[in-house]
Each structure stands twice: as C-alpha cells, then as structure tokens.
C-alpha cells in the first residue's frame, strides 16, 4: 500500500463539511481569546478577526467560499433559533419595556428611516451603482431579514449579507465611544440605539456590557427587522430612490 499523500487527503477533506465547520470554530475561539487577552479592545471584535483569518486561509489554499460554506452553514443555521431565543431576555425586561414603549417606538421608526435613507443617499452622492445603493438600504437589519428585503427591492442579497456584517461590526466597534461622547449612560437608550443601527452583532456587543443593554438591543433589533421589512420598500418608493 502506498503512503497517502497530503495533497490527496487535502482534496478529500476540503470537500467535506467537517473542515469548514472546524475552521470556523477554531478561528472564532482563537479570535475570542485574543479579544479577552487585550481587555476587549473594540477593534479586535472576534467577528472581525475570525473573518479575516478565515478569508486569508481560504485565499491561501485556493478554497472557494461555497466549499467552506458546506461546513459554515451549520453555524449559520443557528442564527434562526438564536433569533427566536431573543424572546427570553426580552421577556425578562418586560417591566422596563412597558414603561418605555412609546419612546422605544418613536426611536425605532426614526432610526429605521434615517438608516435606510442616509445609506442610499450617501452611496448615491459618491457615485455608487444603483445595485450597491439598494444592497446598502437594509444594512442595519439582521442578516436573514436584510437579504429578503434586498432581493425584494432589487439589490444583491449576498452583497447585502456582507454589508450587514460590516455595519454590525462598525456599530459594535464605535458604539461605546459614541455613547460616551453623547454622554448617554442609560443602558436602555444605548441598547435601543445599538440594536436599531447594528442588529445582532451590536446586540452581542451590548450583552457584553450589561444584560439590560443586551435585552433592549435585542428588542430593538427584532422590532426594527419587522419595521424595516414593512416600511423600507414604501420609503424608497415615496422618496423615489428606486431609479
């Protein structure tokens, strides 16, 4: 029997979901350790580091994204049940929510409109293509919802998924600094702003700061997914931004 050579083993393994899944978990746990090691430095947000490491690895080994996603999809799938799970912290913040429902609603509708319109208008002013503008419009909504909206209004769902992640990272990285500058100390206000602007990645960051901020962020993210799905197509139509 001949020695199995590395290249053959690689060809076999890179076609199986095991490699993509293991790579995702290894990259994330290393990234998370680095993040803790640097005292939660915002620029070393574990999503950023893990994504960068994985992309470099895939490019270096000439592995197409589709092959990686064979394994990555198992992690990606958990976004669904995790979204449902947000009902629990939300329920635990029920008394806060009852007290604050009107300000939350007003903040939500304002934030959703400003987020969608400003991204389209800024990209348009700087000469972005129409498809890019429309893919940007739902950028502040959680990925599965944003992809659905993007398709509906004529953007590219897969580009939207990436822009959504980048938006979340931007919000998670800049959020704390900005709240400090605006002198906002209330975790309910910070959470709502984070959830409306930076969906799940912002919510993950908010949970690291406090359970209350996380719960409000999760609530805002869920409600803004709902509001954006209903309002965005209409908003773009009214402002005549689809052409």
């Amino acid at each position: 029997m001949t020695e199995p050579d590395i290249a053959t083993i690689w060809v076999y393994l890179s076609a199986s979901p095991l490699l993509g899944l293991t790579m995702t978990l290894v990259a994330y746990s290393l990234a998370y350790r680095l993040y803790l090691f640097t005292n939660s430095h915002p620029l070393l947000n574990p999503v950023v580091t893990a994504v960068a490491v994985l992309i470099i690895f895939l490019l270096a080994t000439d592995t197409p994204y589709q092959d990686y996603f064979e394994g990555g999809q198992f992690v990606h799938f958990l976004l669904g049940p995790a979204t449902v799970a947000l009902a629990v912290p939300l329920y635990q913040q029920c008394s806060n929510l009852k007290r604050l429902w009107l300000p939350v609603l007003i903040a939500l509708l304002t934030g959703v409109s400003v987020g969608a319109l400003s991204s389209v208008l800024i990209a348009r002013a700087l000469g972005g293509s129409l498809q890019t503008q429309l893919s940007l419009a739902p950028k502040s909504v959680t990925a599965p919802v944003a992809m659905g909206i993007s398709e509906q209004i004529g953007g590219l769902p897969s580009l939207t998924a990436v822009l959504v992640v980048l938006t979340g990272i931007t919000g998670a990285v800049l959020g704390s600094k900005m709240f400090e500058l605006m002198r906002i100390r209330d975790d309910a206000v910070k959470g709502v702003a984070m959830g409306v602007a930076a969906h799940g990645i912002g919510t993950a960051r908010a949970f690291q700061i406090s359970p209350k901020m996380g719960a409000f962020s999760g609530l805002a993210m869920a409600l803004s997914a709902f509001a954006t799905a209903l309002v965005l197509p209409w908003l773009l139509d009214v402002f005549d931004l689809l052409l």
Binding site: V84, D186, A204, A222
Partner: protein
C-alpha cells in the same frame, strides 16, 4: 436534558414562524415572527422556565460566532467592494453612526417629551 428541551422549543417556534410567514405571506422572516410568538407565549404563561433559559443564554452568549460564515462571504464580493470602496465605506460608516446617534437622541427626546421616568442603570 433541560438544554435539549429548550432548543427543541426554540426550533418549534422557528418552524411555526416560517410556516405562518409562508402561509399568510407576511413580509417578515420566519425566525422574527417565531420570536414574537414566543415572547407573547411567555407573557401569557408569565415565566420562561429553566430549560428555555438555559438554551437561550447558551445560544446568545456566543451570538457573534454565528455571524462568521456570512462575514467570510465578503471574499465573493471583493471586486465590487474594490471598485466601489469609497461610496460603500463612507455610506456604511456615516450612516451607521448617524442611525445610532439619531435613534438615541429620538429616544431621549421623546422620553423627556412624554415625561416617562428617567432611570439610571440598576
């Protein structure tokens, strides 16, 4: 076992959500509807129970991990991002910061306007 029961419940609500969205053509993704239904159930039942608590806190404590595979998808769009890096990056950055600031300001403003008690962190 508790964890397993919790996860099963989450999946059932997601499934109900997906099913209702398709059946009633609601323009909202299934998991979001599932979350709202679970939230309403918890309000009616007045409690979430140990198994649901354990499953949800486990899933949510590593929420960031779940975004990694979608983030890696960036590599498919390198060409477009390279060609339109200026509008994309400025729109992302400015619009995200603006959205966050305006949302926070709207919430603070309306809370003052309607005189809802301002409460510091507990």
């Amino acid at each position: 076992m508790k964890f397993l029961n919790g996860v099963t419940l989450l999946l059932i609500y997601q499934l109900i959500g997906e099913f209702s969205v398709l059946l009633l053509r609601i323009p909202v993704p299934g998991p979001v509807l599932g979350m709202i239904l679970l939230f309403l159930t918890l309000m009616l039942r007045k409690g979430s129970g140990e198994s649901l608590d354990s499953a949800s806190s486990t899933l949510l404590s590593h929420l960031s991990l779940l975004f990694v595979p979608a983030g890696v998808g960036m590599m498919v769009h390198f060409d477009r991002i390279a060609n339109e890096w200026l509008p994309i990056s400025v729109a992302l950055l400015l619009s995200t910061v603006l959205t966050m600031a305006v949302t926070a300001a709207a919430m603070l403003g309306s809370r003052r306007l309607f005189g809802v008690g301002v409460q510091e962190n507990d």
